[in-house]
Symmetry: C2
Subunit: 67 residues, 2 copies
């Protein structure tokens, strides 16, 4: 998977550190880091939780428009 810059950017817009976002959604900072880096393939439940925290939707943060 590619880097998730939409996520990184949405997190920055809310002025949250990886650690803070991780705490809110109940995972570790390493997990948030890995998702932003594109290292793995999170569960949709975690994606939804991240989206809600950042005021975005799944399409905003996890849908790639180009096929």
């Amino acid at each position: 998977m590619a880097k998730n810059l939409a996520l990184k950017s949405a997190r920055a817009a809310r002025d949250l550190s990886q650690q803070q976002l991780a705490d809110i959604v109940g995972v570790t900072r390493q997990t948030v880091n890995a998702i932003e880096k594109g290292d793995y393939n999170p569960s949709v439940k975690l994606c939804i939780s991240i989206c809600r925290t950042l005021g975005k939707t799944l399409n905003d943060l996890f849908w790639e428009d180009e096929q």
Copy 2:
């Protein structure tokens, strides 16, 4: 998680069986069944693959509007 009726309905609209959808996205029929039933929490990659197959987006099939 609750039953995913949006998925069940989108699959029906394309006239695909659970088995056919599973084959296309590369999982087993039990996995598709469990997702529709709401038994577990698929990876976002699998969600995206299902959405593409059914001509829907993540928001269409995996975003619950009520908080």
